[in-house]
Amino acid sequence: MKKSTRSLLLIATLGLIAIYFFPFWEIALEAPQYPEGLGFNIWIHKMTGDLRTINGLNHYIGMKTIEPDSISELRYMPYILGFLIFFGFIVFIFNKKILLLIWVILLLIAGTAGAVDFWMWEYDYGHDLDPTAAIKVPGMSYQPPFIGSKKLLNFVAHSYPDVGGIIVFVVGILLISLLVYEYKFNKVQNA
């Protein structure tokens, strides 16, 4: 691989480390009674924000309480990320195109699995409602959007990547570009 490819992939690896220190995703809720805003952030290993208040409000529609302790992804995701970072250094040290290819495939699998898991989690919270809930609107479910904004009763829910999510996105684009470059334009097979 070219020297510049190697430096960029080192930067990408270091970028992944930043995900431990920044929230990954943000869900914000908007309503007239909450001029100060209401929402929570999903990190690789925890959730922060107004969970208590949101759970309090959600009980009216029979939504399950959001308990970070019971979300197993928050426990194993940091290790998966750790492995991917470790693999990044391996690619950097051994400097093989094929390793880069494997790494990008692993990252894509992890990313897709994460996104699907997140969507399923949202679906479950939005649809699996307590039948004895105080507020029941026929045909209504409360799944927040995957990305974007959606009106849910009196709230408008916004779901967008946070700093960590943006980093992943940038890293992903960068690595795919490097991969394409290496396989298509850099025909010299270096050791």
Binding site: E36, D50, R52, T53, G56, H59, Y60, A134, I135
Partner: protein
């Protein structure tokens, strides 16, 4: 014919009287108030959802409370209960707040709160606390502006009628408490006619802890038996001194209206508190046996505690030579007000026709050059002319109280002539005057008694309103009038009714208070001994005939909401913890037939309401604060059985509810 003329003449007379009286009544109404220029409304209009520029903390007088208004709109933001019980939120009724109203006389549900005073740093209001005096049963209270709650009340021993209070030194080192009534010290059974031998005045210096705000009485000055009325601390060049007005130097004990108005001079008492600190450090004076209550609120336990203290340091003038002087002051002074530079002291003699303005510098040289004109009760009296910078001529009748702007002007309220008079501090010339409606007592400019007045507004606090508002029978409201003082001429902007009688107010730019606001109490840090940390801990326990209900409140239900096994004659304590952690979601609690109030519990807080059920039956309880869409569903039942019943104690909510027998 003659008769006809007479009739016509009478008719003309009647008609003309009607017209004249009509005109005069019209013109009476029209003349009420200075010329309005028409743009007043835009100056006091605050758009819905926007905030006012200043907080005004207005004392409630006989209501015993303090009210926070937004200025310039005049919107009432909150009435903060201080000395008076407040069934609206349970202040003085809940078990946690009862100790706050304890005194050496026991629980007192009321007081007369006169003067609010904001804490200062370097002579400028800092927005941390507001202090207010209790006039009747002498006390000083401190309100925390983080929570707008009364967090401390200290009783003042050897005092009676704590009027000259709670004025403070520029760094909030001390707040003072001067007695209005002189009484025997220590109080004892003597003929009232022995006033001159047996009665004394007292001035207490209450030290304020810089960090916590906690108060303790550092020392008391025992003074001649006059009526100590108002006071203000020196600042800048006069830092270290305190000036107290006093009247009744006649030492009258009956018909003071006449007997205390005979001399043509009373006094301003100048006290060098910095120098007194040195004597206190040398352990001068007498530790006297007294009894007074010191009540403190703990924000972590959400509980007040009351302690009875038994000793205070008293200092007689002879214990502290060179620390106290009297400056003669015409007649029966009320205000003793120090200008922002600290160079001048203006005094308002209620019966005087001039305002004396003393020069601090001249006072010091009068002391140094021994310009003494006698001695009363061991206190040297300085020569009037030797201390005087000048007199304000024609300041209105009954000048009471003076505050200052940031452009070198002073504003004095005149009760009798019902006007505000503006004068130049350096030249003592009156430059403007304005009528107020009616009979102004104090006035207030934001920072107007500090080093840094924000000279934009002046609030005139009026004792009478007569025809100013829609009438409400014989008992009418008092009022406040907002005056624009930013230009050369004063301009009336707004006129609004107040809560209780506004004796005095202090104001501060809003951002100095809003930046410290607390929104909720963190439930993780709730150390109330009866708090529950989880809804699963909600329970009912019995110890003899005392029943403790550990109640959880969260939108929109109580846990438990069914309680059985309570018996007639039980003493029931509802300890309610509000599990919300969201701003502005209090829950209330009330139970039918409770000879007590309701209570409001803020998010994260625990409060306790006592109930003595006296008959059997079913007693609903419910949330009194409209907390949510299902607030009306936030209710429960308590079953009360006869004293000898064998209904077992049981409780629950929803699917954990007791089946009952």
């Amino acid at each position: 014919m003659r008769k006809q003329y007479k009739l016509t003449g009478m008719l003309i007379l009647i008609v003309s009287i009607m017209i004249l009286s009509g005109i005069s009544s019209c013109s009476k109404k029209d003349s009420q108030g200075p010329m309005l220029s028409g743009d007043e409304a835009s100056k006091v209009y605050i758009e819905p959802g926007k905030w006012d520029e200043f907080y005004y903390f207005v004392s409630g007088g006989f209501s015993g409370q303090i009210a926070a208004y937004g200025i310039p709109s005049g919107r009432l933001l909150r009435v903060i209960p201080v000395y008076s019980v407040n069934p609206e939120n349970g202040w003085g009724y809940t078990e946690e707040t009862k100790p706050m109203l304890n005194t050496s006389y026991g629980f007192i549900p009321w007081d007369d709160s006169h003067h609010s005073e904001l804490s200062q740093t370097d002579g400028v209001p800092d927005g941390r606390w507001v202090f207010i005096n209790g006039n009747n049963t002498p006390r000083v209270a401190r309100i925390d502006l983080k929570t707008f709650r009364t967090v401390e009340i200290i009783e003042i021993p050897n005092s009676s009628g704590n009027h000259s209070s709670p004025f403070m030194t520029p760094g909030t080192e001390y707040v003072v408490a001067g007695t209005r009534f002189s009484v025997p010290i220590a109080n004892k059974d003597v003929p009232i006619s022995t006033y001159k031998e047996n009665f004394k005045g007292s001035i207490s210096f209450i030290k304020v802890n810089k960090e916590s705000g906690d108060m303790n009485i550092e020392f008391q000055l025992i003074t001649p038996p006059y009526d100590y009325d108002l006071s203000h601390a020196g600042k800048g060049p006069s830092m270290g001194w305190f000036f107290f007005s006093c009247y009744n130097s006649e030492e009258a004990h009956t018909l003071l209206e006449v007997n205390a108005s005979q001399k043509d001079k009373d006094y301003i008492m100048a006290v060098n508190w910095k120098k007194i600190e040195e004597f206190v450090a040398q352990n001068k004076g007498t530790m006297m046996d007294v009894k007074y209550a010191h009540n403190k609120w703990n924000e972590e336990t959400h509980m007040g505690t009351s302690e009875i203290l038994t000793s205070v340091r008293t200092l007689k003038p002879e214990d502290i030579p060179g620390c106290i002087y009297y400056m003669p002051c015409p007649k029966s002074p009320h205000g003793a007000d120090v200008d922002p530079t600290g160079k001048y002291i203006a005094a308002g003699g209620k019966l005087a026709t001039i305002i004396p303005v003393y020069s601090f510098e001249k006072m010091i040289s009068a002391i140094q050059s021994n310009q003494i004109d006698g001695n009363v009760g061991g206190i040297p009296v300085l020569k009037y002319d030797a201390c005087l910078a000048g007199e304000v001529q024609n300041p209105g009748l009954g000048p009471l109280h003076t505050e200052f702007d940031d452009k070198g002007f002073a504003y004095t309220s005149a009760f009798v002539s019902s006007e505000i008079v503006k004068w130049n501090v350096e030249t003592r010339e009156v430059v403007d005057r304005m009528p107020v409606y009616y009979s102004v007592g104090h006035l207030s400019i934001p920072g107007g008694d500090s080093k840094k007045p924000w000279g934009k507004y002046l609030l005139s606090m009026n004792k009478m309103t007569k025809d100013r508002y829609l009438p409400t029978g014989p008992e009418l409201t008092q009022s406040a009038q907002l005056i624009d003082i930013s230009g050369d001429k004063m301009k009336l902007l707004l006129d609004f009714p107040t809560v209780g009688e506004p004796h005095y107010a202090q104001a501060i730019p809003a951002e100095l208070v809003t930046k410290n606001q607390l929104k909720i109490f963190n439930i993780e840090q709730n150390k109330n001994p009866y708090a529950i940390k989880s809804v699963n801990d909600a329970r009912v326990t019995r110890e003899g005939n005392v029943v403790h209900v550990y109640l959880a409140a969260v939108r929109s239900h109580f846990t438990p909401d069914m309680i059985e096994g309570i018996k007639v004659g039980d003493e029931v304590y509802f300890h309610m913890t509000n599990f919300e952690q969201d701003w502005d979601i209090p829950h209330g609690f009330a139970v039918m037939g409770n000879q007590n109030s309701e209570m409001l519990v803020m998010p994260g807080e625990t409060c306790t309401l006592k109930w003595l059920p006296d008959r059997e039956g079913i007693f609903p309880m419910y949330c009194t604060d409209f907390c949510s869409a299902l607030h009306q569903e936030m209710q429960g039942y308590v079953r009360v059985s006869p004293k000898n019943s064998n209904v077992e104690l049981s409780f629950g909510t929803g699917n954990k509810a007791p089946a009952g027998k």
